[in-house]
């Protein structure tokens, strides 16, 4: 007759009498694949460097520390390199990668825009401005305090800058707009331009020594990694990565449009605030210790979306894992490629990210045709 529909029973079938319905989900598969890949990358990164550590030696170093074996033939030097230099650096790369990845994915969801990332809400530019400001003052007036202020002062001030700028963007969007996401995006662009100009002005006034610090900071590096910086970043990224997945249902609904999401119970104002706070925590802390590392937050969610689908439940966790993988590898490369010197990691992520990003775009187009 007329339709496939007319004859279908409307009653729910008795659950026991039919096969269990399954929702095809790639979350489990994804966690498994990316989790093992991350583990492999961490081991690889820990073993690679100026002083090479073999897998057997790595095992002995760890087993000795944990008390499984009493003595080892591995030189003390390697053990120290591993525990004091290598491991904290790898841990920092994992944390920062996770923070950047999950922030990028959630902001792309919030803005419903695939080119959004944490730079848009002012986190990065705000951190840069404040960091540059400190570098300028530091070189000029506080050279005596250099050691202490130089390392932790910049991190702390950069985090404050990230938080303040994001707050400014957020408040401005509330005053000027109707609470929609587009206004937030536009305010972000405006404030970014302004903060960028301020940073530019300071760069213009800077002398050679200051310029060098500023440039190095802006390109990003994990060179300053130690257990203190790892412990400083851990709670911020931890909160971001732990709580963000709870927002995945709301971010999925936002795909339907702001008004439809509202009719399904999403309070956009609350969601916007939560996403921005969580993203700023993770990215702000990352930028504070490692400078600006571009492209990870932008590219990684695209990779996950292409490989495992757009559902935010998979996407958020996947982007955190993949961000860690990418940053661990990029950092390994950055400290080995021009050894004994180091290439700033921001250069590497952009250099490798761009062709890869274009490849993804091309692939997406090919799939659509």
């Amino acid at each position: 007759m007329l339709a496939e529909i007319a004859k279908e029973p409307d009653q729910l079938t008795n659950a026991a009498s039919v096969k269990r319905l399954q929702l095809p989900s790639s979350t489990g598969k994804m966690s498994w694949i990316l989790g093992s890949l991350l583990f492999a990358c961490v081991v690889f990164s820990a073993c690679t460097g100026a002083l090479s550590i073999s897998l057997a030696e790595l095992w002995e170093i760890i087993a000795l520390k944990l008390g499984f074996i009493q003595e080892t033939r591995v030189e003390e030097q390697k053990s120290i390199v591993f525990w004091v230099i290598r491991l904290p650096r790898v841990c920092l790369a994992v944390l920062i990668g996770a923070g950047l990845g999950i922030a990028g994915a959630s902001l792309q969801g919030l803005f419903r825009n695939p080119i959004a990332d944490s730079t848009l809400i002012g986190v990065t530019s705000g951190a840069s401005l404040f960091a540059v400001f400190v570098i300028m003052l530091n070189v000029k007036y506080f050279s005596a305090l250099n050691e202490w202020v130089g390392v932790y002062g910049i991190s702390f001030v950069a985090f404050v800058g990230a938080a303040l700028t994001t707050l400014l963007v957020y408040q401005l969007s509330k005053i000027t707009g109707d609470g929609g996401v587009t206004t937030l995006l536009l305010c972000g662009i405006a404030i970014n331009a302004f903060v960028g100009a301020m940073t530019g002005l300071m760069t213009y006034l800077a002398d050679d020594a200051q310029l060098r610090s500023i440039t190095f900071w802006n390109l990003g590096s994990l060179g300053g990694a130690n257990w203190t910086s790892v412990l400083a970043v851990l709670p911020f990224v931890g909160i971001s990565v732990f709580f963000m997945p709870y927002l995945s249902k709301a971010l999925n609904l936002l795909v339907l449009g702001e008004s439809q999401a509202g009719s399904l119970g999403v309070n956009l104002k609350v969601l916007k605030r939560k996403v921005i706070i969580l993203a700023t925590l993770g990215v702000g802390a990352s930028v504070a210790v490692a400078g600006t590392i571009g492209f990870v937050g932008l590219v990684v969610p695209h990779i996950i979306r292409t490989a495992f689908g757009p559902n935010h439940k998979t996407l958020l966790i996947g982007s955190a894992l993949a961000g860690s993988i990418v940053l661990t590898l990029a950092d390994t490369l950055s400290r080995t490629i021009v050894a004994p010197s180091e290439l700033p990691i921001g250069i590497l992520t952009a250099l490798l990210g761009t062709p890869f990003f274009l490849y993804i775009l091309w692939e997406q187009k090919r799939k659509r045709l």
């Binding site: 496939e4 609904l253 339907l256 449009g257 008004s259 009719s263 399904l264 689908g309 757009p310």
Partner: protein
């Protein structure tokens, strides 16, 4: 049950709606008709609590719409709006499952998945279940959205369904089926308010018709009372004839203008 009391809506000192009052009883299918810009979509947005009226009030189950929590509203009424552009490649099943989001926390239960199944079949897209939404045609996408709205209120007693031009882009068969489905839901006790463009469909399916003109309710009542030649001419500016064919059980509205002459 929806009770609309003297609702008005102003934006930038421009009155979009003024003094609209009507009651939707459970089991009724209301059609909102009117020319472009008459305020139909604004009215749907007010009924769905996306906009709040600048004067008057809307009561849902006897309680002011503003006093309902968003989350609770999501468990009472579903909304299908005009614009449904999705660029991410969610599957049809995932989209329809979104209608169940208000009802589960982390993982969908068997019941949620079964409701999704039934709703997919109800709108005739069971076969498209695993297809990617952006690859579907406009009419198919609209049916997916309808299934999503349906899944949201499927097991709600006296649920409310608000539809803003539900049949946009659908072919003839599926337009028919959508209205058929709406009637069926109304018969089960749902309250349905739909913006309808095709006056013939309003005449054929609606229990009550609200005719808007420039933000005011111009006529209100049964389709036969509201959709007559005089009112349609006044509101749309087009003379029409209502024809009762002996082969049809319902009358048909046709434009009453001379055919365009081609030999000038």
């Amino acid at each position: 049950m929806i009770e609309v009391r003297h609702v008005g809506f102003e934006m930038r000192n421009k009155s979009l709606l003024k003094d609209i009052s009507f009651n939707v009883q459970p089991g009724q299918f209301w059609a909102v008709v009117g020319a472009n810009g008459a305020g139909k979509s604004t009215l749907i947005k007010i009924l769905s609590a996306e906009l709040s009226p600048t004067s008057g009030s809307v009561l849902l189950d006897g309680k002011d719409l503003k006093k309902h929590k968003l989350r609770d509203l999501a468990k009472m009424r579903a909304v299908l709006s005009q614009q449904n552009v999705i660029s991410l490649s969610f599957t049809v099943q995932e989209i329809v499952l979104m209608g169940r989001y208000p009802f589960y926390e982390v993982e969908p239960t068997q019941k949620d998945l079964e409701i999704v199944e039934v709703c997919l079949k109800k709108v005739g897209i069971g076969a498209l279940k695993n297809q990617s939404y952006p690859t579907l045609s406009g009419g198919e996408q609209q049916r997916v959205q309808l299934a999503r709205a349906l899944a949201q209120i499927w097991e709600i007693k006296n649920g409310v369904l608000l539809l803003d031009e539900p049949t946009t882009g659908m072919d003839l068969l599926h337009q028919f089926e959508t209205f058929h489905l709406a009637k069926e839901l109304a018969a089960k006790g749902f309250s349905i308010v739909a913006v309808v463009h095709d006056l013939n469909q309003a005449l054929q399916y609606a229990d009550q018709v609200l005719m808007l003109k420039n933000g005011r309710s111009y006529a209100i009542g049964t389709p036969e009372e509201v959709l007559n030649e005089r009112i349609i001419k006044d509101v749309f500016g087009l003379p029409v004839k209502i024809v009762q064919s002996e082969n049809l059980s319902y009358p048909v509205i046709v434009p009453d203008v001379p055919m365009v002459s081609m030999d000038y």
